[in-house]
C-alpha cells in the first residue's frame, strides 16, 4: 500500500472492462466512461490523488488547475456514492 494513499477503494468493489461498477453492499450500479475507468483503476491500484493528477496531466493536454478541478469533481461524486473513502 502507498504510504501516502489518501483515497481507499472498498475491497468488494469491482469494475468490469466496460466500466460497469456494482456496489455489492447496497446494490447500486454505475457506469464510468473511458477516462473514469482509467482513473478508478489507478485508485484501485493504490495511487493517491496527486499521482492521479500527475498521470492525467502527463497523458492529456490540460492545464493542471482545470485538471485538478475536474478530478476533484469526479472524486466528490465517487465519495458521495460511497465508491471511495477519503482520509
Amino acid at each position: 500500500m502507498n504510504e501516502k494513499q489518501d483515497i481507499m477503494v472498498p475491497k468488494n468493489l469491482a469494475i468490469s472492462e466496460s466500466g460497469f461498477l456494482f456496489s455489492p453492499s447496497n446494490g447500486e450500479s454505475f457506469t464510468l466512461n473511458e477516462l473514469g475507468i482509467w482513473i478508478f483503476k489507478l485508485l484501485q491500484s493504490g495511487k493517491n490523488k496527486k499521482d492521479v493528477l500527475n498521470a492525467i496531466i502527463s497523458n492529456y493536454d490540460i492545464d493542471e488547475k482545470y485538471a485538478e478541478y475536474d478530478l476533484e469533481d469526479f472524486l466528490f461524486q465517487l465519495e458521495n456514492f460511497s465508491l471511495i473513502n477519503r482520509k
Binding site: 455489492p24 453492499s25 446494490g27 447500486e28
Partner: protein
C-alpha cells in the same frame, strides 16, 4: 410427496404461490406432486403448463375455518396431501387455527403460532423492535380523526398512513392524512398506523425460521425498480451483514416458524436500517433465493417433514431478478372445469 400451495394469483400484485412452487421444483431432490389451492378460476397460476398437477378452489378466509376444513378434508381424500403451504397474509391465521385438525388428518404445515404471528402485526411491530433494540420508525395508532390532528406533536409531515392488514399511502399534510385515514379504515378497519416517513432506499430480506429462534437462511435484496403499487419489480442480492444481523435478531425474538419477509428502509441521513414491516410468509420474489444458493421454500418443506437442516451461511451476491408480463394461452375448457367443478386435473 403431495404439497398443496395457495397464492397462485400472479397478477401485478403477485401472490407468492407460483415462485414458491418454482423454487420447490428447482430442487432435484423433490419428487412429488403439487396441488394448487385457488380462490378464483382466473388465478393465473392455474394456466401454467407443467407447474401444478391438480387444482381445487377453496373458500375465502372470511368464510370461516369450518368451511375451509371441510373443503381441505374433501381434497385430502382425493389427493392425500402431505403438506400445505399457505402463502397469503390474509389466510395464515385461518390455517393456524386449523393446524391441529390438519395434523390429525395427517397433513403437515410449517406455520408460526398465533402468538408469534401477532408479535409482528403492524400495530405491534414497534414494541417488538423497541424491546430488541431494532430501529423502527416512530408511529401512533389512530382510531379517530382526532388522532390525526395530533400527528405533529409526534413527528412532522410527510407521514405514512397504513391499514392494519394491507395498503399504505404517503400523506404530505393534514388533508391528505384525513383522506388516507378514511379510505383505509373503511377498507381494513382500526387502528390505522401513522408512521414517521424515513427517506432512503428500500431493502428486503427473505428468510426462514425454524421455530426455535434459529434462522435457517436469509437473503437480502435491494429493490431496483418499484411499481406504482410499491411492489419490487426488479432487485439484486446484496452483501450487508447489518441487515442480516437485524433480521436474525427479529427471528430469534419471535422464534419464528415459517418463511417470512422483512422490509427495511436505509435512512439516507443516518445510513441506518429501519424495520418497516415483517410479512408472515415468503415474498413473491422468493424465487431469487434458490437462484442465489438458498432454496428456502424447499428447506421449509424438509423442516415440515421433520428433516434436520443445516442452516445456509452464504449466498451469491449480485443475483438479480426482473419480473415480466407473459400472456398464457389457454382454452375455455380449463376455465370451465375449475369454474363449474371447482377442481381440475392436468
Amino acid at each position: 410427496m403431495n404439497i398443496a400451495i395457495t397464492g397462485l394469483n400472479s397478477t401485478d400484485n403477485p401472490g407468492p404461490g407460483v415462485p414458491v412452487i418454482r423454487s420447490i421444483r428447482a430442487e432435484k431432490k423433490f419428487k412429488g406432486r403439487i396441488i394448487g389451492l385457488v380462490y378464483d378460476s382466473l388465478e393465473p397460476g392455474i394456466y401454467f403448463d407443467d407447474l401444478i398437477e391438480s387444482y381445487y378452489t377453496i373458500p375465502y378466509p372470511s368464510s370461516g375455518k369450518n368451511l375451509l376444513l371441510e373443503r381441505i378434508s374433501y381434497i385430502h381424500k382425493k389427493e392425500k396431501i402431505d403438506l400445505i403451504i399457505p402463502t397469503l397474509d390474509s389466510e395464515i391465521l385461518g390455517f393456524i387455527s386449523i393446524e391441529n385438525d390438519l395434523r390429525k388428518m395427517g397433513i403437515k404445515t410449517f406455520l408460526p403460532t398465533a402468538v408469534q404471528y401477532n408479535l409482528r402485526a403492524k400495530d405491534k411491530l414497534f414494541n417488538l423492535c423497541q424491546k430488541n433494540k431494532i430501529k423502527v420508525p416512530r408511529n401512533i395508532l389512530a382510531t379517530s380523526l382526532k388522532d390525526i390532528a395530533t400527528i405533529q406533536e409526534h413527528f412532522s409531515y410527510p407521514i405514512v398512513v397504513k391499514g392494519i392488514f394491507y395498503d399504505a399511502s404517503i400523506a404530505h399534510n393534514f388533508e391528505e392524512a384525513v383522506v388516507a385515514f378514511n379510505k383505509l379504515s373503511l377498507k381494513w378497519g382500526y387502528p390505522i398506523i401513522i408512521q414517521e416517513f424515513v427517506h432512503g432506499s428500500e431493502f428486503n430480506v427473505v428468510a426462514l425460521g425454524d421455530g426455535l429462534g434459529n434462522t435457517i437462511g436469509a437473503v437480502a435484496m435491494k429493490k431496483l425498480y418499484i411499481t406504482d403499487k410499491g411492489k419490487g419489480w426488479s432487485g439484486v442480492t446484496i452483501d450487508d451483514e447489518e441487515i442480516l444481523k437485524i433480521s436474525k435478531t427479529a427471528i430469534k425474538a419471535m422464534k419464528w416458524r415459517s418463511g417470512l419477509e422483512l422490509e427495511f428502509i436505509k435512512s439516507s441521513t443516518t445510513n441506518e436500517f429501519y424495520l418497516l414491516e415483517i410479512n408472515p410468509r415468503f415474498p413473491a420474489w422468493v424465487y431469487l433465493a434458490p437462484n442465489a444458493g438458498q432454496n428456502l421454500p424447499f428447506a421449509l418443506v424438509e423442516l415440515a417433514m421433520g428433516k434436520k437442516i443445516t442452516p445456509f451461511t452464504k449466498y451469491k451476491i449480485g443475483a438479480m431478478f426482473i419480473r415480466t408480463s407473459w400472456d398464457l394461452i389457454s382454452d375455455m375448457s380449463t376455465f370451465e372445469k375449475i369454474t363449474v367443478n371447482g377442481e381440475l386435473k392436468k
